[in-house]
Symmetry: C2
Amino acid sequence: MPADAVNRPTASEALGAFVACSSWDDLGDMVRRQAKRSLLNFVGCALGAADEGPVAAAVSVLAGVSGPPRASLIGRTERFDVLNAAFVNAIAGNLFDFDDTHLATVIHPTAPVAPVVLALAESRGATGEAMLTALALGMEVECRIGNAVSPAHYARGWHITATCGVFGAAAAAAKLLGLSAEQTAHALGIAASEAAGLVENLTTAAKNIGVGNAARNGLLAALMAEAGYEAAPGAIEGPLGWARASGDVPDIALMLGGLGRDWELLANAFKPYPSGVVLHAVIDACLELRADHAIDAAMIEAVTVSGDALLLARGDRAVRNERDARVSIQHSAAVAFLFGAAGLAEHSLAAADDPRVRAFRAIVSPRLDATLPKGAARVEVRLKDGRTFTATVVDARGSLGKPMSDAEIEAKVRALAAGGRSTSRVDAIIDRIWRVDALADAGALMALLSAAED
Amino acid sequence: MPADAVNRPTASEALGAFVACSSWDDLGDMVRRQAKRSLLNFVGCALGAADEGPVAAAVSVLAGVSGPPRASLIGRTERFDVLNAAFVNAIAGNLFDFDDTHLATVIHPTAPVAPVVLALAESRGATGEAMLTALALGMEVECRIGNAVSPAHYARGWHITATCGVFGAAAAAAKLLGLSAEQTAHALGIAASEAAGLVENLTTAAKNIGVGNAARNGLLAALMAEAGYEAAPGAIEGPLGWARASGDVPDIALMLGGLGRDWELLANAFKPYPSGVVLHAVIDACLELRADHAIDAAMIEAVTVSGDALLLARGDRAVRNERDARVSIQHSAAVAFLFGAAGLAEHSLAAADDPRVRAFRAIVSPRLDATLPKGAARVEVRLKDGRTFTATVVDARGSLGKPMSDAEIEAKVRALAAGGRSTSRVDAIIDRIWRVDALADAGALMALLSAAED
């Protein structure tokens, strides 16, 4: 241990001070804008999923145990206590796997954090600036802790959106509750004792429990710290703390270096398609071939999709349902060529079961090409007339190299809202989120997001 | 993989079938009696801690978010929804570290499970037999999963009472809710995505969050499974499931072998002293020397306490507060010789700070003796008059070799209740628990445990 390490703050102390001491002014224009984009994208996803079965089931269970209705459910008429509302809204935001992605960690950073600041703003009152500041700081903490344990953490089986999301939720809640640096450190240390969620469960609804708990438990951690609960200084990185218990030796420099100067939030990406990020280059390449060469699906004899090991590991699989479809190379290529689109409708159970899609999936062959960079794909299509065409996409739509524009995010939100309940309000919602920092009462946003009194 | 492994049930499937298919009749007299002893011991601990600061703080936080008051808090006037009541009662039962211990895993098995069956019995109705059956099965699942990952799991930093407690809570809730084997397996798989809690945090109130969440989250898992949520078949032991993500290769034979025939519940031990189990032989030896040789503390020049590496690792430490006192060899010897007792009063903050105790702690020296078996201690006392006496205790009071009698557990519960609010009712409580299996409505027990309408 270096001599100066003795008085060096622990991870939760350093992050606690960062969160407690950072203000709206410290964020800068880029981070502020990205926080709004993240919030808008999250809201669209939650609106779109509001009536889905797993959300409805969670609502039915929690309706019987929820406390005073102080926080709205996005796109629904019910109102719950803040903890249960955060749980449900986090599930909704993440349900379609259509939410944002911090690519370095594969954390979906907004879903566990935004529901917490929305519930607190609605129930306790907060300005738009305060709410957005808390959101940005929570996501920053979440992604930095994720950086420090990636990629081994996820590879070992931890669903990093849940395990790191709880820290983000705790930090954001602590900020909005006005906790001191010391209290915020305790909130983060408490959150360390709540981090859970498994990759093994990702293909089932158990995934939603992990994501919902991340939001709920992070908020609980902050509320308990506010009430005087404490945690060990080394809860995150200590010898018997979270990171090491989880099998990681955390990279503290990556976690704490450049705090307040370098923002992970700027590396947050938004998906144009509701499927695994690695598949987006596949979809783009197929759409490009289809458009450039006026290819009708009926003309196609075979499709070969080349990508690196990650693409093949994530995407080469049999499709039995819509969950499989969202992580299938074969399905991605099929719907892109068949329908010229790869949105929610093309990733539904109906699409997964569509005989035309089934037949097309059978003519798609994945192939390893280790020379292709991460996130890239090459698609070769062989037509029945003997012609072949090839397209290579390195920067997929929505990647950091080709980020979604504000207008594209808006269009995505409109499409999602059309599947939810709040279509009549979507223009107002979009407008309100772009100007959320001007709100004296950020809770007013939730009045728009709720489907109550529609 | 052996050929027959293909159709072998997964851990959650096997445990789910065991829980769903086992009845009161299957438990046998020994298990039934031990379940009652566990419940009684738990209730005493929760009564004793009902007014402690960490319990009061949790109540104050959750009072603002609790749903319909369907479940009582032990020793308190408030009633909460089932999830929040389970959370608080689990914290209270475990707070003093005076609850039971499954020695092979160091799980405190009742605290995360009993609050769940009590809350469900009170809110939904259940016979005493049904409640006790669910308690026994939940604890069995909890300890068996713990066995399969011990001792490495705890050594790596996982607070096993919390991480395995959530499985016990899920299993017990599933049983009392009448879930099918399949639904129970899903509840266990969901619980795997909720397992959290750190050894690093054990010296702080963050510990309580882990234990409270184990009860709350286990109950949630069962409620969600009842509502149709599913989990991956291999959520517990699969390649990206809980055990492996936590760093363990689970011993499935230890987890599933002899299910329904061999009961871990019979290896559950009850503490005579509110301190670390390894210290109990130290206390017994000191009390024996004091009594046998009429030793007054003022006569003593020095005390040497010998034990194995575990005793020294757990017990040799500076005492700054009551939490330290409960895990201190020096404090254990000091109070035993000074007061001839080692109960709650002797492990309070006042006792930890008592100048006489401080002075005595300074003359106690731990010494490694690797030849002593686990759980044993030898105490050598040197008097100022030159005489020395030695006592060796292999089976401490409360150990499996010298278990607490029913009468001793009753006396412990009376002492604990005297520190809580329900002293006037303690006789009725004890009587009711010994006959709990005769209750047509087990919820009636909670009416006694609540301090409402006192």
